[in-house]
C-alpha cells in the first residue's frame, strides 16, 4: 500500500488552537460598530431612511471587503466576498470536455487538453521534442517530460512538492468501486484500463443523456463507441492516473 504522505506537510500544519483574541480600539474589527456610533449619534439630525442606511452599510462592507481574486494570475477586483464564489464559478472553472477536470484559467485548460488528450502532442513527445510547457504564464520554458516540468515548477516557481498538474482523482464511491473492479480485471494492462476509466466516466454522462432520447442500453461498460475511442488512442503516458470527477 503505497500511501503518498508528505510528512513535511503533516508536521507543519497549523492546528486549531483555542486562544483569546484581543483587538486594538482602532482595529478594523471594530469599524462597523464605530460607524454605528457616528450614525446613531446623529440620528435626530440625520434622519436617514432605511434605504439610505442599507446603502451606507453596503458601502462600508464593500470598502472593508473589496477583495482581489487570489487565484494565481487573476487579480480581478471583487466588490465583496459574496461575489467571490460567483466570480470563481464564472472564471475559474474551465472544464475539460473530455475528462471533466477543472482548471482556473483557459490557458491551463488548453495545456491540459494537449498533454492529456492529444495524440499528436504525445507523438511529438515520443520523438524528443520539448512539449511540456511551464505552467507559469510568461516563463515560456518547455520540457521534454512531465517530471522535468514538475521539477522546474518546484525549483524555480516554488510550487509545493505535492503539486500535481495532472492530479489524482477523487471519484465518488460508485466510481471508486468501478475503478477497483477495473483494477482487478485489467491489472496487467494498466494503461488501457486507466484509459477506459477516463472514457467510462464520460460515457456515463453521455449515455444517460442519450438514453433519455432513445432506448439505448444504459450499461456503461457495453457502449461500443466508448471503447472504440479508447482503442483509438495509441499512447498514454504513464503519468496519467485515474481522472478526477468534476462535481
Amino acid at each position: 500500500m503505497a500511501m503518498v504522505v508528505d510528512y513535511k506537510h503533516d508536521s507543519s500544519f497549523p492546528y486549531w488552537t483555542s486562544i483569546r483574541r484581543r483587538f486594538d480600539p482602532d482595529s478594523p474589527f471594530f469599524s462597523s460598530g464605530n460607524l454605528e456610533r457616528e450614525l446613531l449619534a446623529k440620528q435626530v439630525a440625520l434622519d436617514l431612511t432605511e434605504d439610505e442606511r442599507n446603502q451606507l452599510e453596503k458601502m462600508i462592507d464593500n470598502d472593508a471587503r473589496g477583495v482581489f481574486c487570489p487565484i494565481v494570475g487573476c487579480g480581478a477586483r471583487l466588490t465583496s466576498l459574496e461575489d467571490f464564489e460567483d466570480h470563481y464559478i464564472a472564471r475559474h472553472t474551465a472544464s475539460c470536455s473530455v475528462c471533466s477536470r477543472v482548471y482556473p484559467t483557459s490557458r491551463l485548460l488548453s495545456i491540459h487538453v494537449s498533454e492529456a488528450h492529444d495524440s499528436f502532442f504525445q507523438a511529438k513527445v515520443a520523438r524528443g521534442y520539448a512539449m511540456y510547457e511551464c505552467l507559469v504564464e510568461g516563463c515560456d520554458l518547455k520540457f521534454k517530460n512531465y517530471k522535468g516540468r514538475q521539477q522546474h515548477l518546484v525549483d524555480k516557481h516554488k510550487f509545493p512538492t505535492s503539486f500535481e498538474f495532472f492530479n489524482k482523482a477523487h471519484p465518488s464511491k460508485k466510481k471508486r468501486l468501478k475503478n477497483q473492479q477495473k483494477r482487478r480485471t485489467h491489472k496487467k494492462d494498466e494503461e488501457a484500463s486507466s484509459k477506459m476509466e477516463v472514457e467510462n466516466e464520460i460515457i456515463d454522462g453521455l449515455v444517460s443523456a442519450v438514453s433519455k432520447l432513445s432506448t439505448s442500453d444504459s450499461s456503461p461498460s457495453n457502449i461500443s463507441f466508448g471503447r472504440r475511442n479508447a482503442r483509438g488512442l495509441t499512447f498514454v503516458p504513464r503519468s496519467i492516473q485515474a481522472p478526477r470527477e468534476k462535481k
Partner: protein, 519 residues
C-alpha cells in the same frame, strides 16, 4: 452627541449643529474606512440649525445647499464679523463688554449657519488671536461662552483648522476648572473634545498641557449635560494609541467610582458616553482593565445589556465586556467562573445579543463567546450546553460573512482543549462529533471557499479537526460529502502559499491514492 433640541434653551439648536460637525469629525476618525461617497451621503442629510437667539433667525432647512454666491456672501460676512470683533476687542470705552459679546455672537452665528462653516475665512481674517484674547481670565461668562463656542465650531473643521486652535488650548483647559460656570466649562470641554478627536498629535499636546485631570473631575457629579460632554471629550482624549492617558484616567481620584455609578444609575445617554470611556480604558490599558475587573465592573455592564434596547448604548457596553474578557485572562479565570451567577448572566446577555437584529451585536457577541470558549474545559462545556449553540449553528449558515467568521471561532474553540505545551491540542471529541452531526461542517467548508485568508484558514483548520477526530475514520467521507475535497483542491492555483500547503497537505494525507480502496 444627539442633543434633542430644547427650543427653550437657546443654545441647544446650535449645539446640535455643532454636535453634527463634531460628530462628523469623530466619525472621520473612528471609521477606518472613510470614503468620500459615504461621507457625502451622510453630510448631505445633516440638518443645520441656526440658534434661536430671539433675533428672528430662520432655521436653515436640510439640503438647502448654498449657491456659490451665498458662499461668498457668507465668507464676506465672516471677514467683516472678525473685523468688527477686532475693533470691539480694542475698544476700551463705555459698553465695551456688550460690544465684544455682540461681535462674538455675530461671528458665532455665522460659524453655525451652514454645513460648511466659513472657518477658513474666519482664520484668514485673524479670528484666533482675538478669540484667545476673549478667553482671558476675569472675562464675563457670556463672553467666554461665545468665544469658546466659536472655537468649538472652528475646531470641527478640517485638520489644519483644528490645529489652528493651538494658541487657545491652555486657556480652554484653564476654564475647565471648578470655579468656572458650568455652561462655560462645558463649552470649553466641547471645543477640547473636538481637538482631541482630531488625532494623536493633538491629544499628546492636550495631555501634556494637563487637560485630563480637570476633564476627569467634570465627570464626577451625578448628572447634567456637562458630565456627558466631559465624558465624550475624555473618550476622545484617551483613545490612544498610547495607553498612558487611559492608565492616568483610571487613577484619578473618584473616577472609577463615578464611572461605575453612571454605568449603574444614569440615563442611557450619559451611560453611553461613559461606556465609550470604558471601551478605551479596557482596550488600551492593562492596568485599567485589571482595576475594572476587580471592581466588579462586569455586573453593571451585564445589567445594561440585559435591560437596554438602545443600540447606541449596547454597542459600547458589549465591547467593553468583550475587551475586559479579551484583555485579561483573570476575567475568565477568576470572575467568570462556571456556575457563578455573573457567568450565567454574561452568557445570557450574549445570547440576547446573538438573537438581536443588529449585525454589530451579533458579531461582537460571538467574539466575546469565542474568548470565553478559549478558557477552560468547564467554560467550553458551559457554552456548549447553553442556548448559544443552536443560535450559532444557524448563524454559521445564514449570517453575513463577518459574523460567520466569529461564529466559526466559537464553534472551533468548543472542540479543542486548552493548549498544553507542544504539539497538537487535544480534541474534545464529543463536542466535535455533536456539532458535526448538527450540520456545521458545510458552513466551515464554505469558509474554505472564501477569498478571505483568515476565513479560509479557519475553515481548513476545522476541516483538519474533522478529518482527524471523527470516530472510525469517518471524517474524510463527511468532508467529501460536503464538497470539501473540491474546496481544498481549489487551492492548488491559489497565490497564498500557506493556504496552498495546508490544503494540499490535507488532501494528500486524507485523500491519497488509497482513499476509499478498502470499502
Amino acid at each position: 452627541m444627539a442633543d434633542d433640541s430644547l427650543a427653550s434653551h437657546r443654545r441647544d439648536p446650535i449645539k446640535s449643529s455643532v454636535g453634527n460637525v463634531a460628530a462628523q469629525r469623530r466619525r472621520q476618525n473612528a471609521a477606518t474606512v472613510g470614503k468620500e461617497r459615504r461621507e457625502s451621503l451622510v453630510r448631505a442629510k445633516r440638518l443645520c440649525r441656526v440658534g434661536a437667539t430671539g433675533d428672528g433667525d430662520v432655521p436653515v432647512e436640510e439640503n438647502d445647499m448654498m449657491t456659490d454666491e451665498e458662499g461668498f456672501l457668507l465668507e464676506d460676512q465672516t471677514s467683516s464679523a472678525v473685523k468688527e470683533l477686532k475693533s470691539a476687542v480694542a475698544y476700551q470705552g463705555k459698553g465695551a463688554m456688550q460690544k465684544r459679546v455682540n461681535a462674538l455672537r455675530e461671528l458665532r452665528r455665522l460659524l453655525s449657519k451652514s454645513e460648511f462653516p466659513p472657518v477658513e475665512a474666519a482664520l484668514k481674517a485673524g479670528a484666533i488671536p482675538l478669540l484667545v484674547q476673549c478667553l482671558s481670565f476675569g472675562s464675563p461668562d457670556e463672553q467666554l461662552l461665545e468665544a469658546a463656542w466659536c472655537l468649538t465650531n472652528i475646531a470641527a473643521g478640517k485638520p489644519e483648522e483644528t490645529k489652528a486652535l493651538l494658541p487657545a488650548l491652555p486657556l480652554l483647559i484653564a476654564h475647565l476648572g471648578e470655579k468656572s460656570s458650568l455652561p462655560v466649562a462645558e463649552q470649553c470641554a466641547w471645543a477640547l473634545g473636538n481637538v482631541a478627536g482630531e488625532g494623536e498629535e493633538l491629544r499628546k499636546v492636550l495631555l501634556s498641557q494637563g487637560a485630563l485631570p480637570p476633564l476627569a473631575r467634570m465627570m464626577l457629579p451625578n448628572k447634567g449635560s456637562t458630565v456627558r460632554t466631559a465624558a465624550w471629550a475624555l473618550s476622545n482624549l484617551i483613545k490612544g494609541p498610547d495607553p498612558k492617558a487611559a492608565t492616568e484616567l483610571i487613577k484619578v481620584d473618584g473616577v472609577l467610582d463615578a464611572i461605575l455609578r453612571h454605568l449603574r444609575k444614569s440615563d442611557e445617554e450619559l451611560a453611553t458616553e461613559v461606556a465609550w470611556v470604558i471601551v478605551y480604558l479596557s482596550a488600551l490599558s492593562n492596568f485599567a482593565t485589571g482595576v475594572l475587573v476587580k471592581s466588579d465592573a462586569l455586573q453593571p455592564l451585564v445589567e445594561r445589556l440585559a435591560t437596554s434596547n438602545s443600540l447606541q448604548l449596547l454597542i459600547p457596553v458589549l465591547r467593553s465586556l468583550g475587551n475586559l474578557v479579551a484583555g485579561d485572562s483573570h476575567t475568565t479565570s477568576t470572575v467568570l467562573i462556571p456556575g457563578h451567577e455573573i457567568t450565567d448572566g454574561v452568557v445570557k446577555v450574549l445570547v440576547k445579543c446573538l438573537k438581536s437584529d443588529h449585525r454589530v451585536l451579533k458579531k461582537e457577541a460571538s467574539w466575546v463567546l469565542s474568548n470565553i470558549a478559549a478558557g477552560s474545559i468547564e467554560h467550553k462545556q458551559l457554552i456548549y450546553s447553553s442556548e448559544a449553540v443552536p443560535l450559532l449553528l444557524r448563524l454559521l449558515s445564514t449570517a453575513p460573512f463577518d459574523i460567520r467568521k466569529e461564529v466559526a471561532y466559537v464553534l472551533g474553540n468548543l472542540c479543542v482543549a486548552p493548549a498544553a505545551g507542544e504539539g497538537k491540542p487535544d480534541l474534545i471529541k464529543e463536542n466535535l462529533v455533536s456539532l458535526v452531526q448538527r450540520g456545521c461542517l458545510s458552513g466551515f467548508i464554505d469558509l474554505v471557499r472564501s477569498a478571505d485568508i483568515e476565513a479560509a484558514r479557519l475553515g481548513l483548520q476545522f476541516t483538519e479537526l474533522v478529518l482527524r477526530g471523527m470516530p472510525n475514520g469517518g471524517g474524510p467521507k463527511l468532508v467529501e460529502q460536503e464538497d470539501g475535497i473540491d474546496a481544498m483542491e481549489r487551492y492548488q492555483f491559489h497565490e497564498n502559499e500557506d493556504l496552498r500547503n495546508m490544503a494540499n497537505g490535507l488532501v494528500d494525507k486524507y485523500f491519497g491514492e488509497d482513499y476509499g480502496v478498502n470499502e
